[in-house]
Symmetry: C2
Subunit: 248 residues, 2 copies
């Protein structure tokens, strides 16, 4: 079997995190790492991530730059009921479409809040969806996300974002997943850099990364070999093991 990636290029993606609280340091983002791992498993290449504040022009400009460039865009944050939740309006502005209470979303919220809490004006705000968008189910807290064009708009609370990724994943085109082999060399980067560079040159279609870590007393390095072609992956990983045997 030939490598599928040589004939059909893999889908690409960008992640856009929207929220002052990440940029102030108050909240540590967990969504980029989650989406990165999730997309890697689907064979979709996350090529870029951005974090922008809760400001309409910043959101509009980032969404328009990213959606023009990548197969998919995923956003997190700013779709709740409060005054600082401006993402839905900003996405509508980015696409140049209107926005209003969506009857499908209103119905979902009615069912969700029945017997739980009053569906007040603020909660109803979460049914405001740009014209032409599809809804993304939220089994954790009711209020849906949405997809418009190639942009998937999700909540910022990690448990909700994770449920929304599960809900939307079946609609995504997938690529050949990138296989990877991690090798903890036990050696500092400076020790392995020369021969590792030669291996990287010998296997130009493999992506060979060198990730130093420092565990308090010792500097060491994990080498990660990545490829969509399993034969290349195995050969390059074997070369790294042979290099370590030589250095020992």
């Amino acid at each position: 079997m030939n490598d599928a990636s040589s004939t059909s290029p893999s889908p690409t993606a960008a992640m856009l995190v929207i929220g002052d609280e990440i940029l102030s340091g108050r909240t540590k983002d967990r969504n980029i790492g989650f989406v990165a791992s999730y997309l890697t498993q689907l064979g979709i290449d996350l090529k870029e991530a951005r974090i922008v504040p809760d400001e309409t022009p910043e959101i509009v400009s980032a969404v328009n730059a990213l959606r023009a460039r990548y197969t998919y865009v995923f956003t997190s944050g700013g779709i709740g009921p409060t005054h600082d939740d401006i993402t839905a309006d900003a996405i509508a502005a980015a696409f140049g479409v209107g926005i209003d209470h969506d009857p499908r979303a209103v119905e979902i919220l009615k069912r969700w809040y029945e017997g739980r809490a009053e569906l007040n004006e603020a909660r109803l705000r979460m049914a405001r969806i740009p014209f032409g968008a599809d809804l993304i189910e939220n089994r954790v807290s009711g209020a849906p996300g949405f997809r418009i064009g190639n942009v998937h708009v999700m909540a910022g609370v990690p448990a909700v974002l994770e449920a929304m990724m599960d809900a939307l994943a079946p609609s995504l085109a997938r690529g050949t997943p990138v296989g990877s082999v991690s090798i903890d060399t036990g050696l500092g980067e400076g020790r392995i850099a020369g021969p590792l560079g030669a291996i990287a040159k010998a296997y130009p279609t493999a992506i060979i990364g060198s990730y130093p870590y420092f565990d308090g007393g010792k500097h060491a390095t994990v080498v990660v070999v990545r490829s969509r072609d399993s034969a290349v992956l195995e050969a390059a990983a074997a070369a790294v093991h042979a290099m370590l045997a030589d250095l020992a």
Copy 2:
């Protein structure tokens, strides 16, 4: 005393994380959160963060977009000794300057490796510094970072990046730190959204954020009031407490 921020605008900043390993999900970034909190304490507003892969055109284009727009840029990743460490060359390309072994950096590496390890060709690569740059001290692992123009180039290993931030911080212009008050309301966002929006309108110079969290069984919300003006901060926080007393 008047609010200093009304006369001298606060410095702004962007963070650029360079590394395939973050975008593949293999490594979870910790540097953005660290730099965000660090700059907030200095009164510098982090306005944007980006993560790009280890690809020269991506690094060049992000650095040039960000350095034109913000007072400072901080980068992490890609300045080690291995073949995939291309940040220093990419920064030189972004500034249109040459790059070579820097005598000051070579001297630092000679002293660092003396009695520890051989200063081989790969390790010497870490002394390649763009022309016109100043060095940033690295007391954790020797090899320096550098500053060129308004761009500060640091290592990706968190312990090293943190040491480099400490080393470079005295050179940064500071703003009036943004004061903040966090109030855990114990209530869902939909309950507080209406009156909180009214408070946000009444205190337009305060930044009032609403941060829902989900702890398994319960949806609740932390409200964060932020302002550089302590009188505004206290008044807006008092209004939030009064709102909660009304809702109780």
